[in-house]
Amino acid sequence: MKDTPLSNCERDFLLKAIEEKKRLDGRQTYDYRKMKITFGTDYGCCFVDLGKTRVMAQVSGELVAPKENRPNEGIMFFNIELSPMASPAFEQGRQSELSVKLNRQLERCLRNSKCIDTESLCVVSGEKVWQIRVDVHMLNHDGNLMDAASIAAITALCHFRRPDVGIQGDEVTVYTPEERDPIPLSIYHMPVSVSFSFFQQGTYLLVDPCEREERVMDGLLMIAMNKHREICSIQSSGGIMLLKEQVMRCSKIASVKVSEITELISKALENDKRARKAGGRCGFAESMPQERITALKMDKTSVEMTDVSDRANDIVQKSEAPPQTVPSPVVPIPGVGQVGQGLQNTWGLEDDEEEENGEEQDEKITEMEEEQHEKEESRGGDVVEISDSEEEEVVILHPETPDKTPKNTGSSFHQKMAATSKKRQKK
């Protein structure tokens, strides 16, 4: 089925809005959408929500014969499935350009950067090795599939546990999880992809483009990096012409974003670990009876509303915050969309303060804010050079926003503040 065509008026409006440094959903130029990482019941199953984009990654492992030229290395296999479920533009079966592009980029991002110790996956040299297969399924397409896919894939890999094996003579025994605890993969580093879209021949730059922005953009630059500021892969696409300075600037922004995202991933993993240790039931299937799955997931209205109030505030130059006592208007009407969002958190530990989820309880939010402050401080302490180099960036990046952050905290802090202030306004 064909996608809805993009009208000239949408294109013109979007470009005009981008010129004025406005985005459809009220984000700042370098903001990510709300990101949420959840896990399935099984090990190695991970869902990532990036705004309305939703992807699922599932890792599985099996014993196979190794490749001839690498007899004592395990095999990594990546596959991104663009199912027609995610968007009417995706067709079943045929390998589209987009799917080739995404698949190769994911391979480059995760396999070529050697983030996983493949030698530890060898069972019997030349005969049996583990093949680790990562299947990424797109569930809903609202732009920036690559970032969501890379986050989902690496998180799922971190979450995955392979069965333990024992070797007696020639015999290889695979133990069930009951017999022996399954073993996590050894992961050296976590590459995360960050996408930048360019508009008007590279004059304007946006992070994390949504679907409509992707349709208007001239080109895309994907930078995969880990938190040690090592670039794992760069790929430009679309017919844009970049300048070296732009690439350098993007790589700087990427390093900030990656450290934020990595933090989020490890926090999510930790929460899940704790939840599993506590023996609580968790995962996707468990969320069904608690009505956490939205039946009529029409719009995450909460997002729009926070943005609206945020923006409304922009108009008055953030002079006054809406009264804190106004009850959140997000309470869903029965029967119309939005089942479960914003209810008492029944998910267990796994979900709390996981990410910039605006619908948590008040105390949670404050908790999170504190955490973010802490995190920010610690980050500033660790890598002094970044924040130094970022400092100039901030000035360039947000020329219009009132500079309400102390200079020495860097741009990431600035964006965090924006996110948290959004939350505060909503309450």
Binding site: H228, S233, S237, V247
Partner: protein, 265 residues
């Protein structure tokens, strides 16, 4: 650009098995590479334009031991899927293939595997940026590239060959598109990697450049590299691309001279 000297690659270094190359010294203490080049030295580039009569434009290019043929047809009306027609510009259709005998290991290379599809996509993207497609609305330009012998830097050789072919076909471009791969060893950027170096676990960066404006039409990097080194690597790649563009410019001028002599001017 003075340091980009061309020299014949010393000996055809071809490694049959790309096993663990970690033991191999890619850059000697004296500053020489496996095939005797300096770090910022390109391989010898030789090219001819107009090698086929049937095609609208064609070129053959050797860069060291990597050899490629490029053929251009068009602009012509859009064939196949009518839905690809763009009412404001030409579409570019690229096809990349490798000859069965192009590598040490002889194997049939089916069309449409992920790597070659990706390579076709990248070529397409590079030329969409460089060719002035808006001059030919509702039409199509085909670029077919074949690697005859592969010794590293396949993408860049293809781009360089295809540039010549597009020029031969008389299709207007903003500038030459020149591509080059650059590796990073011992804090030194190595220009124009050969196969041995590529498979030696070097982090490599491929860059296609429009030299005059310094605009990057395609940037691709594999393997890990610290952010701080990125700038020097891109810088090296851009210098190398400018070197390539000089050679290509010479080839084009020479070709045009030959043709005009033949036509009796």
């Amino acid at each position: 650009m003075g340091n980009v000297v061309q020299r014949q690659t010393r000996g055809a270094l071809r490694f049959e098995v790309c096993g663990n190359m970690a033991g191999l010294e890619l850059l000697s203490d004296q500053g020489y590479r496996l095939d005797g080049r300096k770090a910022s030295e390109l391989r010898k580039v030789q090219a001819r334009m107009g090698v086929f009569a049937q095609a609208d434009g064609s070129a053959y290019l050797e860069q060291g031991n990597t050899k490629a043929l490029a053929v251009v047809y068009g602009p012509h009306e859009v064939r196949g899927l009518r839905s690809r027609i763009r009412h404001d510009r030409a579409v570019i259709n690229c096809q990349y293939s490798m000859a069965t005998f192009s590598t040490a290991e002889r194997k049939r290379r089916p069309h449409g595997d992920r790597k070659s599809t990706e390579m076709s996509l990248h070529l397409k993207q590079t030329f969409e940026a460089a060719v002035m497609t808006q001059l030919y609305p509702r039409s199509q330009i085909d670029i077919y590239v074949k690697i005859l012998q592969s010794d590293g830097g396949n993408y860049s050789v293809c781009v360089n060959a295809a540039t010549l072919a597009v020029i031969d076909a008389g299709i207007p471009m903003r500038d030459y598109v020149c591509a080059c791969t650059v590796g990073f060893v011992d804090e030194t950027p190595l220009t124009d990697l050969c196969h041995a170096e590529e498979s030696g676990g070097v982090s490599s960066l491929a860059l296609a450049l429009l030299p005059r404006g310094g605009q990057i039409a395609l940037l691709q990097m594999d393997a890990r590299l610290h952010q701080d080194h990125l700038e020097s690597l891109i810088e090296a790649a851009m210098t190398a691309c400018k070197g390539v563009s000089k050679v290509l410019d010479e080839v084009v001028r020479q070709h045009l001279q030959e043709v005009s002599v033949l036509s009796g001017e």
